[in-house]
Amino acid sequence: MKFLVCISKVPDTTSKIGFTDNNSKFNEAGVQFIVNPYDEWYALVRALELKEANGGSVTIITVGEQSDEPVMRKALAIGADEAVRINAKSDDSFFIAKQIAEYAKNNSFDVVLCGKETINFNSAQVPATIAELLDMPLVSLATKLDINGNTATLERDVQGGSEVVEVQTPFVLSAAKGMAEQRIPNMKGIMMARSKPLNVVEPVSVEAHTEILSYELPSGKTECKYVEADKMDELIELLHNEAKVI
């Protein structure tokens, strides 16, 4: 079974977020980058577990620049067999999905795994767009994945509970918390990562569908008001007249 796992580089969660160029660009100075946790902890690790159990291969793919290679090598250190970098920088979900779909189309993978979203842009659009472009089924927000022959059984989060889905390969999934557990790359993996193939592929020409005009930080924390548990009228009054949300 051939797995393709989409990997994205994101700022470490403790990074100080700031912008440059009139708030139109993210300020990367001093920021430590990591593999997007949904991609790494869930999608990649589950793909590796299935490969280790049943054989096959795990390829990771990133649409990014050379500065993305350290996080790609981390994915290799965790255990992926090879890496592909589509040599382009973009914040546009369609552009990214199209590049990945083009590569996938030519290399026939059985399962394309994405994280459910990146923790910096949270657009959650890439998995669905890839599926559409490849004309494959998408199972989104999957928390469990098992594969038997060409049939995959997945569990996915739905409002208030979960749903079990069966799908035939090839298909695309977006992984949510629960699919696997974080793996710390071991020394052997780290040393092997250097000699695993990391192929750089030039992008196909695609027009971006969106452009980011500006960013804004959330306003600072506001005060927390406590209302006694038995004073529901007061709560409703506050929600109506002070917070003006109902």
Partner: protein
């Protein structure tokens, strides 16, 4: 392998020669693989150790042992072990980075350090091929845990005075060990013990590899300790313990030498481990000071708190600069010796030995910086600093041991001076020449000093003058007191304190200079502030140490002249240190974590 920096100073030479920034290594130069290894260690600590801190301190059965095994599975225990013995053969600087990255793991850190250092290294460095093949792979992958038995109830700092005895069995096939060891880290679960004992009536120790399964070993209960409560510390008794002849480690009577050489490595490594602990404490402290409000504002807005935060950073940054500078010097020396045909293990020992004084400096400096950082960490947390529910309580208690083990800080201070003097006597280091020159300078009219030392020329001149202060004091003390100097411990402490400060100050200047070349001045403004404050502050310290020493042995004209010289040598330009510290604190507060 990298090419070695040819112009690197020899051990102890920092006191009499200047270094160039391009010849020092700074932590900002770590490569991708090194960063990845460090991250693996940090992930291990945050995922495996942090959720278990209380359980570890309660000595939950098997927990630390399991954590050690887990580190072994990840390869962490074998980073510095040569590949032919199951390790990953990484260099000395990476070994230090691993120690730093595990350094905030409290008791578990002590267990890991003891295993990888004093537990494993005696066998790796002094074992014969069979011994290395038998033990090192299992120690490297965590299958076996190791301990080191040197200290006895009556033999601590005076380590060669141990009473544990080894005699040949009647059939001549085994050594029979009898004696009592104390304060043995990892004793509770160790599979392999390096035990120091005297054969028959020898004057000096010999060393033995003893397995848990050998007959005649018993353990006392766990010691009840102030801190590192989760680290197993027990007495170990040997009652007619039967050790096969082939388990003697190294030649007869070289045990004390083994012990000392292993401690050299342990000392610089302790400096690395405490660095990791410092960074964690600072991150917690700044985060708390941003969250905690009093009088309507976060306490991080108050100058008294900002002073503490800045000072924690300055000292940590200085210590880190010295640590990686020394580590790279050691690594280059190792590479040089290996290229001359020495075995890796031997080169490793000799490389560290060359810089033994710097190792002792790192031990004292590191442990005392951590104590300061942890103490002010408690203070910044206020009442919560005193609460066992918050992290500072454990940080404070666990920090304290570092000034005691691996040779107490008093012993290490004396060693710093002693090792430099010994190198001078052996002709490996010219101290007398420069000291005589300084003495001559005292008699002459101060010439106007327009020498250009490149970037930060003034600060470098300050440090040059601090070196002159130390040379003046040490040189005069040696002349005046001759053989009795080794008994004048107060003076030795003064000189050691000067040397420690000088090494740190020079390291921080060289690091900042290199940083500016790498990143540009704008990116490292706070580092420049840290350097400026450190040098400004230490001028008064050097003056005080020097004065105390001079007044302890000199009189009359000589005393007056030296005090005048000292005053001249410790003069620095005024600096608005309040504003400088404010800027350092502001950066830290903004980032909400240690960020330098």
């Amino acid at each position: 392998m990298e090419t070695t920096t040819k112009q690197a100073l020899k051990g102890g030479e920092f006191l009499v020669k200047e270094s160039k920034a391009e010849n020092v290594f700074i932590p900002e130069e770590f490569g991708e693989e090194q960063r990845m290894i460090a991250q693996t260690c940090k992930d291990y600590v945050s995922q495996e150790v942090f959720p278990n801190l209380d359980a570890v301190d309660e000595q939950q059965e098997g927990l630390v042992e399991g954590l050690l095994k887990k580190a072994g599975e990840l390869g962490i225990l074998g980073v510095h072990i040569p590949e032919q013995y199951g390790g990953f053969g990484k260099d000395f600087v990476t070994e230090m980075l691993v120690a730093e990255s595990l350094g905030d793991a409290h008791s578990t850190s002590v267990a890991l350090m003891a295993h990888m250092g004093i537990g494993t290294l005696p066998i790796l460095y002094y074992g014969n091929e069979e011994q290395k093949k038998k033990y090192i792979p299992k120690l490297s992958n965590g299958e076996w845990a190791a301990a080191y038995c040197l200290t006895e109830p009556g033999s601590g700092s005076d380590a060669n005075s141990g009473k544990t005895k080894a005699v040949l069995s009647e059939d001549g096939k085994n050594w029979i060990l009898n004696g009592q060891k104390m304060w043995i880290t990892n004793a509770g679960f160790a599979d392999v013990f390096t035990v120091f004992a005297k054969i028959d009536d020898d004057k000096n120790l010999s060393a033995f590899i003893v397995e848990k399964g050998f007959e005649g070993i018993t353990l006392n209960a766990e010691e009840k300790k102030m801190g590192i409560k989760g680290s197993s510390t027990r007495q170990v008794f040997f009652n007619n313990c039967v050790v096969p002849l082939e388990n003697q480690l190294g030649e007869r009577e070289i045990g004390f030498k083994i012990a000392l050489n292993i401690l050299n490595v342990g000392r610089v490594k302790l400096g690395a481990a405490v660095l990791g602990a410092c960074k964690k404490v600072i991150s917690n402290a700044v985060n708390y000071s941003n969250e905690r409000s009093q009088f309507g504002r976060p306490i991080s807005k108050y100058g008294a708190i900002r002073f503490k935060l800045a000072e924690q950073c300055i000292r940590t940054f200085a210590m880190e600069s010295a640590l990686y500078r020394a580590s790279k010097n050691i690594q280059d020396k190792i590479a040089e010796l290996e290229s001359e045909g020495m075995t890796h293990e031997k080169a490793q020992l000799k490389g560290v030995e060359e810089y033994a004084a710097e190792c002792a400096i790192m031990k004292v400096l590191g442990s005392e910086v951590l104590d300061y950082v942890a103490d002010e960490g408690v203070q910044i947390y206020g009442g919560m600093g005193y609460s066992a529910e918050a992290p500072m309580d454990r940080a404070y208690r666990d920090a304290r041991i570092n000034r005691i083990f691996e040779g107490s800080n008093e012993i290490n201070r004396m060693l710093i001076v002693d090792m430099l003097l010994k190198r001078a006597m052996k002709g490996q280091l010219d101290l007398m020449g420069p000291a005589t020159k300084v003495a001559g300078e005292l008699m002459s009219v101060p010439s106007s000093d327009d020498e250009d030392l490149g970037m930060f020329s003034d600060l470098k001149k300050n440090v040059k003058n601090f070196k002159k202060s130390a040379l003046m004091v040490a040189g005069a003390a040696v002349q005046k007191l001759m053989q009795t100097l080794s008994k004048e411990q107060e003076i030795l402490m003064n000189v050691a304190d000067m040397l420690i400060d000088i090494y740190a100050a020079e390291s921080i200047i060289l690091r900042v200079e290199k940083l500016i070349e790498l990143k540009g001045e704008d990116a490292v403004k706070e580092q420049v502030d840290m350097m400026n404050v450190f040098v400004y502050d230490m001028a008064d310290r050097i003056n005080k140490y020097g004065k105390d020493a001079i007044n302890s042995f000199a009189e009359g004209d000589e005393q007056r002249m030296m005090l005048m010289g000292l005053k001249r040598f410790t003069k620095v330009e005024p600096l608005n240190i309040k504003e400088a510290r404010q800027r350092i604190a502001a950066k830290l507060i903004n980032e909400n974590k240690y960020c330098f």
